[in-house]
């Protein structure tokens, strides 16, 4: 790996080198490295680009890393990844896409990730997006995440996009079975004239299903963000949506949380707040010896942590 690739990998997967456990590294539209474990098998799809990941029932404390890197300008990469997480397993899946575009043409990655999470399985899915490069070319990331949670399954979904992605359209759909639990934490920072849209459909279908969606975002400069999380409760269930945004400069933020109860026992809550950093917050930090800029960084850093 060269320096650019190493940095992308560090940014999106906290990896200094190839990871332990199962992995599949994709670069500029092609798989470049792969490892299986006795419990986790990665198979290339034959009908379309992408991979199937099979995790055996009962697999505990294993991880799968599937980073995607794009360093070629003008490349559009489209990929389908299907995960089969076996019953009673407990796994960490780290995906992420880093684009280094130093050319003038747009570089783009569209990923469709589908997860079938088996009975009583626990899955943590971490996805980081990152863009860099001196070129004029846009860096575009459009991920779709489709998750089905079986009875008693627990899913934690952490997504973050902190820097350098010109445009992103994210769609997340989760169907929650009986007594399943879902926690989505979404972190987003946009700057310059970047655009980000995040739409979600969460269906609480099984009795006792619980979902919490937490979105924290910062919109700087002339960037714009739209959040549209929708939660539907179809039975005795619990859902909580929380959108919280800091707006700066000439940015625009729209947050439209929507909750729908189709059953008298569904308990659904939504909260949304958009606001600037308060003057007294900056002042307080400055009285502790920070400069105005350090104060702002500290406040934003905490907010997105």
């Amino acid at each position: 790996m060269d320096a650019i690739e190493k940095n992308l990998l560090l940014q999106i997967a906290d990896l200094h080198d190839v990871p332990a456990g199962a992995y599949n590294i994709r670069e500029n539209g092609k798989g470049v490295a792969r490892a299986n474990t006795p419990n986790i098998e990665i198979v290339t799809k034959t009908d379309k680009p992408g991979i199937d990941i099979f995790i055996k029932p009962g697999t505990k404390n294993e991880s799968v890393h599937i980073p995607v890197m794009i360093t070629q300008t003008g490349l559009t990469d489209m990929v389908y990844n299907d995960f089969y997480v076996g019953e009673d397993s407990d796994v960490l899946i780290v995906a992420g896409c880093g684009i280094h575009n130093s050319g003038c043409e747009p570089s783009r990655h569209d990923g469709i990730h589908t997860f079938h999470v088996g009975k009583n399985a626990r899955m943590k899915y971490v996805e980081k997006h990152y863009g860099e490069g001196s070129g004029e070319g846009e860096r575009i990331l459009n991920p779709d995440t489709i998750i089905e949670l079986d009875e008693g399954a627990v899913c934690e979904l952490d997504t973050s996009q902190i820097k350098g992605v010109s445009s992103t359209k994210r769609y997340t759909k989760v169907t929650c079975g009986k007594n399943s639990e879902l926690v989505i934490t979404e972190k987003l920072l946009t700057h310059d004239s970047q655009e980000a849209v995040s739409e979600m459909d969460i269906f609480l279908k099984g009795e006792g299903a619980r979902a919490r969606i937490i979105s924290r975002s910062v919109a700087q400069d002339r960037s714009s963000q739209i959040f549209y999380p929708r939660v539907t409760g179809e039975c005795a269930c619990f859902g909580h949506v929380q959108c919280d945004a800091i707006i700066m400069g000439d940015a625009k933020v729209r947050a439209i949380p929507e909750i729908t109860a189709d059953d008298v026992n569904a308990q659904l809550i939504h909260e949304a707040a958009i606001g600037r950093i308060a003057g007294d917050q900056i002042m307080k930090m400055m009285t502790l010896g920070l400069t105005e800029q350090q104060a702002e960084e500290m406040i934003l850093g905490g907010f997105l942590k």
């Binding site: 924290r216 919280d244 308060a278 007294d280 917050q281 002042m283 307080k284 930090m285 400055m286 009285t287 502790l288 010896g289 920070l290 400069t291 105005e292 500290m298 406040i299 850093g301 905490g302 907010f303 997105l304 942590k305």
Partner: protein, 239 residues
């Protein structure tokens, strides 16, 4: 040594022009404990904020150890050794109590060091270090954390704005002990805005601010009994 000469603060709102401070003259020697008291709206917080640089002075001068700081920024004054505990401290989503203490002290504090500052304001450290300083904390908790950050800064001049507000009796007595110790060991100059007898009793100097002016000032032992007498009637000292 803090020297304030003919300090004016003038605020222009969309409706009117307000003279909030109308010529304050005040000298506080290093290591002394001065209590600023007086009726609500008298200008105490504005005076504290003007010393910290949060509110600009529209006239007069402020000297710290002989150096003119009247036009210095908040950051510069903080680094020169002034700290100010807000009357109403702001909250921060995602920032932990330990993070604030670290920033305040300017270094990574050990857990034990953090604990010692929190204990001084009557907080049980282990319950609080990893809590976020957000809306989940009560007013009294945020206030005590605010005071702990000022203690952790160890500035030469510490200004506390109504530290007693919203604090239970036990924590308050812990806090008065802490002020007393700082004062006795000559660690810092303390300026405390307060209405509490137990804090007034600690004062070397009591300054009564009302209607943007110093109405009365003098040694604690002289002013304290006057205040005690006059507050029993209707309106204190001020007419």
């Amino acid at each position: 040594m803090l020297q304030i000469r003919d300090l004016h603060v003038h605020v222009r709102t969309d409706k009117e022009d307000l003279d909030i401070l109308k010529g304050i003259d005040l000298s506080v020697e290093s290591g002394k404990l001065v209590v600023i008291t007086g009726p609500n709206g008298g200008g105490k917080t504005t005076l504290a904020k003007a010393i910290m640089g949060i509110v600009p002075a529209s006239g007069g001068t402020i000297l710290l150890n002989g150096e003119d700081i009247t036009h210095k920024s908040v950051t510069e004054r903080a680094r020169l050794g002034i700290s100010y505990g807000f009357q109403q401290p702001p909250r921060f989503k995602g920032i932990k109590v330990a993070d604030l203490l670290n920033v305040a002290s300017g270094k990574e504090l050990s857990r034990d060091e953090c604990c010692s500052y929190l204990t001084k304001v009557g907080l049980c450290a282990n319950d609080y270090l990893d809590r976020e300083v957000d809306a989940s904390l009560s007013g009294g908790e945020v206030k005590r954390i605010e005071i702990a950050t000022i203690l952790a800064r160890r500035s030469g001049l510490m200004i506390y704005d109504e530290p007693e507000a919203g604090i239970d009796l036990w924590s308050f007595s812990k806090l008065t002990e802490t002020f007393k110790t700082i004062h006795e060991t000559n660690d810092a100059t303390l300026m405390i805005i307060s209405h509490q007898e137990r804090i007034l009793q600690l004062a070397d100097l009591i300054v009564l601010v009302s209607d943007g002016r110093i109405q009365r000032s003098g040694p604690g032992e002289e002013i304290f009994p006057e205040i005690m007498n006059q507050t029993e009637g209707q309106c204190p000292l001020v007419s």
